[in-house]
C-alpha cells in the first residue's frame, strides 16, 4: 500500500516535470524604439511583448464578441486605414447606433502617451479598454459578461494559454492582450521620418520645407516633434459645442484653470484622420489651417499661449498643408501586421 502511494507520487512528479518541459514559452519580441525618439512611457515589465500576446490582442481588437449585441468591435471605431479613428462620423457611434459624445481619437504611437482620452482621464493604457466595453454608447457590455463569453468560447482559452500561460481568462489577461496590440501601433515611417533619417533620395520640396519652418514656428510647441503631440493639455480656442457641453480636462480635475483644455492630438497621418478635434467639427485639414489662420477668437479666455490668429497668406497655408501631408505613413496605414487577422 505504502509503496503504491510512493509509486503514484513519483510518477506524478515525472509527469509534471515532462509537462513543464514541453510547455512552450511565448515568443518574446522586441519593441523597437525609432532612432532619436524618447523612451516609451509604457513599461513592458508586467506585460512582456510576445508574438502570441500581440496576435491575441489583434484578434480581440477585431472581434465583436466584446460588445453586448456582438455587432461592434474596437475596429468599428478605430479603423486602420484612417490611423485607427472613425471615418466620417463627427462623434463616434456605438451599438444600436447610439452616439457617444466625442470623436474617436487615433491610435498611433500610444506607447508614448502618458494619459488617454481627450480629457486625459485614463491614466494607463491597460485600463483604457474597460471604457469602450462598458460605455453604454459604445459596446455597452459588462466586463464580467465579456469574460464569461471568452471563457466559454471554443478558441480563446487556448490562445490565452499560449500567450499568458493560463486557460482562465481574467480582466487582467484580457486588458493586457488588447494592450499588446494597441501599444504596437507605431507610425515612424512617413516622408518626414525618412527626411529626418536623411534617407537617400528623400527630399522635401520647397513648399514642404517652408511648411516645416512655419510649423516649427507656430505649431511645434504643442505638436512637438517627433511625436507631434506633448503630454499636456491645451486649448486652441474652440468654443464649447452647445449640445455636447464638453468642458474637457476640467471634468477630471475640477480645477478651473483646466476648463476647456483638451489633449494635444498627434498630427501623424492627419491626412486621413478626419474629422478633426475632440468633437470632429472640422472635416478637412484645410478647414483646420483656416481656423488657426483666421478663425481663432483671441478674446477666448482659455486660449493657450502662444496661439493667436496667425493670418497666414494663401501660399503659407498651402505650404503648411503640404508639410502636414509629409506625416502620412502608408507603411503604417497598410501594415498587414495590424490588419484584420485572416
Amino acid at each position: 500500500m505504502k509503496n503504491r502511494v510512493l509509486f503514484i507520487a513519483f510518477y506524478s512528479c515525472v509527469l509534471v516535470l515532462i509537462s513543464f518541459k514541453f510547455k512552450t514559452e511565448p515568443t518574446i519580441i522586441e519593441f523597437s524604439v525609432p532612432k532619436k525618439w524618447p523612451n516609451p512611457v509604457y513599461s513592458f515589465k508586467n506585460n512582456p511583448l510576445t508574438e502570441e500576446g500581440f496576435q491575441l490582442g489583434r484578434k480581440l481588437f477585431y472581434d465583436p464578441i466584446l460588445s453586448k449585441d456582438s455587432t461592434i468591435s474596437c475596429a468599428s471605431c478605430h479603423l486602420q486605414y484612417t490611423g485607427f479613428t472613425h471615418v466620417d462620423h463627427t462623434i463616434s457611434h456605438g451599438i444600436e447606433g447610439r452616439k457617444g459624445t466625442r470623436n474617436s481619437p487615433v491610435l498611433i504611437n500610444l506607447a508614448w502617451n502618458s494619459s488617454f482620452h481627450w480629457d486625459g482621464g485614463v491614466n494607463h493604457l491597460e485600463v483604457q479598454g474597460i471604457n469602450p466595453i462598458q460605455h453604454p454608447a459604445e459596446m455597452d457590455e459588462k466586463l464580467e459578461n465579456v469574460l464569461k463569453k471568452l471563457n466559454a468560447s471554443s478558441v480563446y482559452p487556448a490562445l490565452f494559454n499560449k500567450a499568458f500561460g493560463s486557460d482562465k481568462i481574467t480582466s487582467s489577461t484580457l486588458m493586457k492582450a488588447l494592450t499588446l496590440y494597441t501599444v504596437s501601433l507605431v507610425s515612424a515611417d512617413s516622408k518626414y521620418d525618412k527626411m529626418m533619417r536623411k534617407e537617400k533620395g528623400v527630399q522635401f520640396s520647397e513648399q514642404e520645407k517652408n511648411g516645416l519652418k512655419l510649423f516649427r514656428e507656430h505649431c511645434a510647441v504643442c505638436h512637438k516633434e517627433p511625436l507631434f503631440t506633448s503630454p499636456t493639455f491645451a486649448s486652441n480656442g474652440l468654443k464649447m459645442d452647445s449640445l455636447l457641453k464638453d468642458v474637457g480636462r476640467y471634468g477630471i480635475t475640477h480645477n478651473p484653470s483646466d476648463s476647456m483644455l483638451f489633449k494635444i492630438p498627434t498630427l501623424r497621418n492627419s491626412e486621413f484622420t478626419f474629422p478633426y478635434m475632440h468633437d470632429g467639427r472640422f472635416k478637412k485639414l484645410k478647414d483646420v489651417i483656416n481656423y488657426y489662420s483666421d478663425g481663432i477668437d483671441p478674446s477666448v479666455s482659455y486660449l493657450s499661449k502662444p496661439l493667436k490668429p496667425f493670418h497666414f497668406s494663401d501660399t503659407e497655408k498651402k505650404d503648411l498643408l503640404s508639410f502636414l501631408l509629409t506625416l502620412t505613413d502608408k507603411a503604417f496605414l497598410y501594415n498587414p501586421r495590424y490588419s484584420y487577422p485572416k
Binding site: 491614466n123 474597460i130 471604457n131 466586463l143 480582466s171
Partner: protein, 222 residues
C-alpha cells in the same frame, strides 16, 4: 526512493512548524455606536431617525506593524472588505503580538497608476472608475429616514488619488491582542453628514476628500 521519503518527512515537519506561528487576526464589522449591525436592515438612531445600509465596501491596504515604535513587519497588498461577503471580513497576518498597527483606508497612488491588476484589485469588483482611472476607496449606500418620515437615499463613492483631493487615509491603532475587531460606526458617519444637502458623491474632488477624511474617524478598534 529514499529521497522521496525524506521529502515527505520534511514537508510534515515544515507543516507542523507553520501551524504554530502566531498570527494577528482582524475582524471587520459595521456598527451603530458599539452595536454590530447588518446590511439591509433598518436601525433606529438615538434621535429616532432611521438608517439602512445596503452597501458597505472599502479597501484596506499596506499593513505595517510596530513594536517599541520600530517597524517589525510590513504586509503589502490590498484587501477589499465587503460587508456582503463574510469571507472578506477576516484578515490574518502571520506575526506575533505587537504594540500597534497602521494601515491605509484605500489604495495608494502608485497602485492607482499601475495599470490592470488582479485579485481584490480587479476592476470587475466594482470598485474602479474607468473614465477617470482610479480606485473607489470606499462605497457606502443606503437610506436615511428623517424623524418626520422623509426618506433620503444616499450613495457615497469615495475615491481619487490626485492632488489636491487625495482620499487615501491612514489608520493607526494599538494592537496588543492577537484578535482585533475593527468597527466602522456608520451611524456616526451618516448622522454627521449634511445628508439633505449632499446625498450623492460619485467623483473625485473636494467632497470626496472631505468625506473620506471623516469616514476614517469613524473606525474604532477593540
Amino acid at each position: 526512493m529514499d529521497k522521496i521519503v525524506y521529502g515527505f518527512v520534511l514537508c510534515f515537519i515544515l507543516n507542523t512548524g507553520y501551524g504554530q506561528t502566531t498570527s494577528i487576526n482582524f475582524t471587520f464589522q459595521s456598527s451603530i455606536s458599539n452595536e454590530y449591525i447588518e446590511l439591509n436592515t433598518i436601525y433606529s438612531l438615538s434621535d429616532s431617525s432611521k438608517m439602512e445600509i445596503t452597501t458597505c465596501r472599502f479597501y484596506v491596504s499596506n499593513f505595517t506593524f510596530y513594536s517599541n515604535n520600530k517597524l517589525v513587519s510590513e504586509q503589502k497588498g490590498a484587501f477589499l472588505i465587503d460587508l456582503e461577503n463574510p469571507e472578506s471580513l477576516q484578515l490574518s497576518f502571520p506575526i506575533s503580538v505587537v504594540d500597534s498597527v497602521r494601515f491605509n483606508l484605500g489604495i495608494d497612488s502608485s497602485t492607482n497608476v499601475a495599470g490592470i491588476l488582479d485579485g481584490d484589485l480587479d476592476p470587475i469588483k466594482g470598485m474602479y472608475w474607468t473614465w477617470n482611472s482610479g480606485y473607489i476607496n470606499s462605497k457606502v449606500e443606503g437610506t436615511f429616514t428623517k424623524t418626520n418620515g422623509v426618506k433620503i437615499p444616499f450613495e457615497y463613492h469615495l475615491g481619487g488619488y490626485l492632488p489636491p483631493y487625495p482620499t487615501l487615509q491612514t489608520l493607526t491603532f494599538s494592537c496588543e491582542k492577537s484578535e482585533k475587531i475593527v468597527k466602522l460606526d456608520l451611524s456616526e458617519f451618516i448622522s454627521s453628514l449634511e445628508i439633505e444637502k449632499c446625498n450623492n458623491v460619485m467623483i473625485p474632488g473636494p467632497k470626496a476628500a472631505e468625506l473620506s477624511n471623516f469616514l476614517a474617524t469613524c473606525f474604532k478598534i477593540d
